[in-house]
Symmetry: C2
Subunit: 140 residues, 2 copies
């Protein structure tokens, strides 16, 4: 496992060039590195610039599949809650991290969420959604 | 708010072409739509293809800023936990959704997470990280 983590540390160092927090990650399948990423949030001005996400994107492109079941992710720092949710949805099987010291303690929770009450529009959309799932079931 | 949700429903319909669950989202700043997205997970074989994420990506590009504080997100279906985390980190101020019926009840939680125990590598990386934050503080 040392060689994998050496690679993640190398990647982490690349983040520094643009003032990003140094974090590196790789995705491994059957012993082969299929995705590499380092933190580029500031570099690319994109909230999705975290190292884990960049590595997952590369792996998905390589496999031409969003489902990364059977893959392992190695990352220098314990993933934040956002990345953990993405990792889970990508069906990655194992995550290994090097340290959880200095992990972000921020909870980004200034976002308010509300339901919009418009019965007709809600009904129109719900029908669209139900018809989608009905078609899907009929195809199976 | 009706015009915004009409737009999200129009976008949702675009998802159907590639067999994606019909979901549409927009990001609005000061009354102007700066990001539009529809679900493209299957179309692009990317776990990050959810409508909200596509809309956030477009908005960030438009503003050249990952921080979308002050923006509002309108989405047909209540965001999944992954998208909620991304929305929170993007600092979007308000989220409005049309329905939470048929929201995913899956918990994608087959991922195991473990700390890798290598004291030297852990130390090397921690120094890198600490030095980054030390430099950052000194610049301020």
């Amino acid at each position: 496992m040392n060689e994998y983590f050496n690679e993640t540390i190398k990647l982490a160092k690349k983040s520094l060039k643009y003032g990003d927090v140094p974090i590196g990650a790789i995705v491994v399948k059957d012993g082969i590195i299929i995705g590499k990423g380092y933190n580029t949030r500031e570099k690319h001005e994109n909230v999705l610039g975290h190292a884990e996400i960049n590595a997952i994107n590369m792996a998905s492109k390589r496999l031409n599949n969003w489902n990364l079941n059977g893959c392992k992710l190695y990352v220098t720092l314990k993933p934040c809650s956002m990345c953990m949710e993405i990792i889970k949805q990508s069906r990655i099987t194992n995550v290994y991290y090097l340290t959880n010291k200095l992990s972000s303690k921020h909870e980004f929770n200034q976002t308010k969420i509300e339901k919009f009450n418009n019965i007709e529009m809600s009904k129109e959309y719900l029908e669209l959604l139900q018809s989608f799932f009905k078609n899907l079931r009929e195809k199976k």
